[in-house]
Symmetry: C2
Subunit: 537 residues, 2 copies
């Protein structure tokens, strides 16, 4: 069977625009003489639509657009992901489903059976599962249709029930999967494993169509996948952009070997996350504070690659505590990136604040108050440019700092998007080194400093980043106990506990952070819900 | 049967502290010659523990504290809400459950059957339901145990299955309900209705123990409830504080009539929400900006009632645009409330910013940039006091403003807690008028203004608040479509659509707002999840 896989980048809630893309894909499929066209999960609304699903008029509007797709399907089998409503149900009436359309007729719906409700997924909030496996006999083929999680179970075993095993006795000729599985560092390999495992069990080809593009904090990588009957990887669609894939399940070809550099992918995920946030919101220009340090240097590279040099404005805001070298590094970076750099020293407003507060702060020592003031002045300046010229502010803090609360609320945390908030400091270094033609050598080499007081170094108030990052990995990603982390990474238990406590203490800051681009298996924002007020740690 | 209902205020995750309270309650129950003691849902961990439940060591620690309760239960039946783990299960292994303990023996567990996964509830994220209804024969009584939502279904009918109906054939003598149902304006009546309906169906008494206290954004009101066999309300525990209730299911007494003023309750909910946030975090002192307007006046009253006058610091920060009357109102309010008021004019830092930015803003008009700058200076000053003296900043914006984005991110939105963020402007007026002995008359009477430019009035940039509030009510609470709202409230459709669009456009601000105290049936923060990037509206 000749199958056309349409890997699209939908905008959440844009039924009109998404339908246009779908209709254009039908044309492409027809021109390519395909017999079947496969879309990704909830392609009509984009994934995840979140509480838009609770707005009745939103769900009801789907019918009109589904009709348009049906009307345009002549000669084609169309497998289209969308939410549908089952008004006969007692419980939640919404179903995450795939419409099966053939030649201008709606044949029926294949509903999603396993509803992920963990991490960034809230599907039980909206949908009821439908535990019904069937075969769709289409053009002489016995086709099984699964939606995302329905197939992952086969490898991961989180549910009592495995839709892939249910299909064994039904002897499908072909499995189609509609997917919207967010990018996480090094998760592509697992997805391919899932497809291979399913093909091995069912002894038939598996074709997976995945959403691409970023929606708020989530990035969808694309890389739609075709695995043949022999459970060999045959084709991957492009990563991080829209793509189509035409394949013939009868054709014989050699296995496809793919080489993907996980760090290049990570970088691409950030570029796409940034670009889509801007494009889909209708913003063109970004501004950010350029300190001369590594975080803002990396964010500037990502912004330039996402938006173009001409759309990135750097502002360097030296204070009495900044080294000359920092300013030189900022200038060199801006030159390398061909972005405009404005130099706005913050001494005057800082002085104005100090004088204003002096009568109230008599006999008080210089402390975090004065450090934070500087960061907040910088935040206010960036926001003033944002307000005046309509550019979106990028914040540049990384995950390790966010974990430790080593950042100023309403200061360097200001921004429309937090680009590195899901990258450990060590990952920041690795990515920055991939771009060392553009990032000044001194930026790459000097020890990290916030430069909010004289001779300040991160290492004065934080343990080494490799230790922080290990504790983060163990606690956030693996759910290890402090004892397990101490044992696993050979870090003194006291230090582990102290870092975890510090992490919880900064929860209040993170809950007011700008949305970040999620690139790990477990981010601090999307997919993680912790109380601010708690006494467990 | 003599039953002791222990309405406690737990701290999330404080297994040690919560167990102490539980053990003390056992003593009280024994002294009162009770036969059975009933606690609220998940009392051991506090509700909701959120992702602490994913931390294995947290769940495993429960066993130790359960043992302590069992050991202290001699002579008593104890019904204790807690999370338990069923390691044999294939799917999620956690169960929201009630331990049934009698005289130092654990008799078993009654598991929760219906898991709310909507609004602020995420129970499917953590728990598996156990659909098993049984009777517990204890001291000659046939006792049915339900956990919160298990009983609500009987009135509301959201699920396919009704645990109350399942009990009919089992002929219970008594129903016990462990509950943790968050406060919402005027929801107490519904809860009592639920108990009455259950008593009518099962022809037996219903005793409901509810959690009290605030945890982050959620307030739990208490008001534990006893309804007798004749389906008459017999007793209500106190609202908004810890309480105990001793009752005898055999005793005959007259029905209890309760008169609750919904607006006094609303005020109490805010006081408790603020107090618990501070107390449980270990903060004693609050500071806030006092503008002379109604919102900050109301917040100051709430703060004083929650923390005491001596713990509230007001700061009034006049600019070139503030009226003299505003300053007089701020002073009068502070006098009435006996709080310290500091006057810190923001002209100097404002001037410093304007001069600094002037070279970049040549030929640009005064616009929201300069308005926001003033708000951000005030935010920075409040945060400086917070940093220097360890007081928590209260932000004072209301729900109507938050809906419209009529507030400055990193400006007046700064704060550890947003006290009024779930109150419409109209509710603010009603509550403020309840406190008109303390709030200056001029504050109550003058038209709302942000005073960020000359002669500014809210009504210059916003439609009347009653219209905003109706659209809010219809769209946020009822999920009406714009057409339905226009019809229902007789507001032009264009205006409705324009307000809804404006509401979605401000989503990015709300996602960086300070946590707010949820007091409506649908807040903007807890329980509402909308994408920032979307094109539905």
């Amino acid at each position: 069977m000749r199958i056309f896989v349409s890997q699209l980048n939908p905008i959440i809630g844009d039924l009109e625009g998404n339908t246009k893309k779908i209709l254009y894909s039908l044309e492409q499929a027809r021109l390519a003489h395909a017999e079947l066209i496969l879309f990704s999960e909830l392609i009509l609304s984009g994934y995840p639509p979140e509480d838009l699903l609770l707005q009745r008029s939103f769900v009801e509007a789907h019918a009109y657009y589904l009709e348009q797709v049906i009307a345009a399907s002549s000669g084609l089998i169309v497998i289209l992901g969308l939410v549908r409503q089952n008004k006969e149900r007692a419980e939640k009436s919404l179903i995450n489903s795939a419409a099966v359309i053939y030649d201008r007729k709606l044949l029926g719906f294949q509903d999603k059976q396993l509803l992920p409700t963990y991490d960034v997924f809230d599907e039980r909030r909206y949908f009821e599962p439908v535990l019904k496996t069937r075969i769709w006999p289409l053009k002489g083929k016995r086709i099984g249709i699964l939606i995302c999680e329905d197939m992952w179970q086969h490898l991961e075993g989180n549910y009592a029930h495995d839709p892939v095993l249910d299909l064994v006795d039904l002897q499908p000729d072909l499995i189609l999967n509609l997917s919207a599985s967010p990018y996480g560092f090094q998760t592509l390999e697992t997805r391919i494993e899932v497809c291979l495992a399913c093909a091995r069990t069912l002894k038939c080809p598996v074709i997976l169509c995945c959403q691409v593009g970023a929606n708020d904090q989530l990035v969808f990588a694309g890389y739609s996948t075709y695995v043949n009957k022999q459970a060999e990887l045959q084709q991957l669609a492009k990563g991080f952009e829209e793509d189509t894939m035409l394949l013939d399940t009868e054709a014989v070809s050699t296995p496809y070997t793919f080489i993907i550099d996980p760090f290049k992918d990570l970088y691409q995920a950030l570029v796409l996350g940034l670009r889509d946030y801007f494009v889909k919101l209708g913003f063109k220009k970004a501004c950010l504070g350029i300190s001369g340090g590594i975080d803002s240097a990396l964010v500037a590279c990502i912004a330039v690659d996402a938006l173009g040099s001409e759309n990135v404005l750097g502002i360097t805001m030296p204070s009495r505590y900044n080294s000359k070298q920092s300013l030189l590094d900022a200038i060199e970076l801006a030159d390398n990136l061909k972005i405009t750099l404005k130099q706005i020293p913050i001494e005057k407003p800082f002085q104005a604040y100090l004088e204003l507060l002096q009568p109230y702060f008599v006999d008080q020592k210089f402390d975090a108050t004065e450090e934070n003031l500087q960061a907040r002045i910088r935040g206010a300046i960036l926001m003033a440019f944002s307000n005046k010229f309509g550019c979106l502010v990028l914040s540049t803090g990384n995950k390790s700092e966010m974990a430790m609360g080593y950042c100023t609320l309403y200061g360097d945390m200001c921004g429309g998007l937090s680009v590195l908030s899901d990258l450990t400091k060590q990952q920041v270094y690795i990515l920055a080194n991939l771009h060392k033609q553009r990032i000044p050598k001194s930026t790459l080499k000097k020890p990290p400093s916030a430069e909010l007081k004289f001779n300040q170094l991160d290492s004065n108030s934080l343990p080494p980043y490799d230790i922080i990052d290990q504790v983060l990995q163990g606690y956030i990603e693996e759910y290890f106990s402090p004892e397990e982390i101490s044992y696993q990474y050979q870090i003194p238990l006291d230090l582990v506990k102290q870092l975890i406590k510090r992490m919880y203490n900064a929860e209040y800051k993170r809950q007011q952070a700008a949305p970040g681009i999620r690139v790990s298996r477990r981010a601090f924002q999307a997919g993680r819900r912790f109380p601010i007020v708690q006494k467990w740690v």
